[in-house]
Amino acid sequence: MKEERPSGPAAAAILAAAVGVFVIGLLTTLNEAVDGLSRYLNWWSPAGPLTGKTGVGVIVWLLTWAALGARYRGASVDMGRIARWSWLLILLGLLLTFPPVFERFAGE
């Protein structure tokens, strides 16, 4: 019988994905709330600040995955806790990318 695999690497993948989508949501709202931020998020003018918002989200996701993957390698973690944190981050990410929510933070 094959050895059981520990939950750490799966937890790292799930939590990192949640962090990635939360960062996209956070930057979507911050882009409305903070004057001048869109200049820094505009990585490629034809597509505008969307490139930076999603680009930073993807980079943070991959770095978080690498960091958590290293930390949880070979370990078993409390998947219930990881799932709760992941769902909270995903829910916040969804809220922060919902136009009626992020438009509330838009400057005049």
Partner: protein
């Protein structure tokens, strides 16, 4: 019968890549839902996990192709600024914003779609990794399997929002 390069890319982005992701969802969902020891034999789980691993990786790849082609190829045509006195029907964003009756298609529909659509490939990649990592053991890890299943549902829902608004937007203000 002619199709411009812009129309072709719009079709590839939404109707081919996006639709394949959405259509494949049902198979993946059924696979994850039924991946339980009480519903399948050991051989059944092994056979199912091979299909599920390949299917979820292909879906993640297609989701990435969809958002990258959408953001870096189609979206610049959508948001291009028109020169003065230009025919706005060639500039979808400006065309929608020009009339109060259509502005919400951009301020709500496009603004939601362009951001939330990026959730799908990230979540789908996490799902594919977890399925591949655990293999048949996933059938015995009920909490992880249920979390993965719901991540898969959220990935589908976000792709669905993006796809639905994409279809409406391309009907109301097509990219030419």
């Amino acid at each position: 019968m002619q199709v411009s390069a812009r129309e072709l890319w719009t079709v590839l982005h939404g109707l081919i890549f996006g639709s394949v992701f959405l259509a494949a969802f049902a198979g993946g969902l059924a696979g994850l839902y039924s991946l339980r020891p009480e519903l399948a034999t050991v051989q059944g789980v092994q056979e199912r996990i091979r299909r599920l691993t390949a299917g979820t990786w292909v879906m993640a790849l297609i989701a990435w192709i969809t958002v990258i082609s959408g953001t870096y190829i189609v979206y610049p045509w959508y948001r291009a600024r028109p020169p003065e006195n230009a025919d706005l029907t060639f500039f979808p964003r400006a065309y929608l914003l020009a009339k109060p009756s259509t502005a919400a298609w951009h301020t709500f529909g496009m603004e939601w779609k362009e951001h939330v659509g990026w959730f799908a490939p990230i979540l789908a990649t996490a799902v594919a990794f977890v399925v591949a990592y655990y293999g048949p053991q996933l059938a015995r890890e009920d909490r992880v399997r249920r979390t993965t299943l719901w991540l898969f549902v959220v990935a589908f829902a976000t792709a669905g929002v993006a796809g639905l608004f994409g279809a409406f937007l391309n009907k109301i203000a097509p990219i030419r």
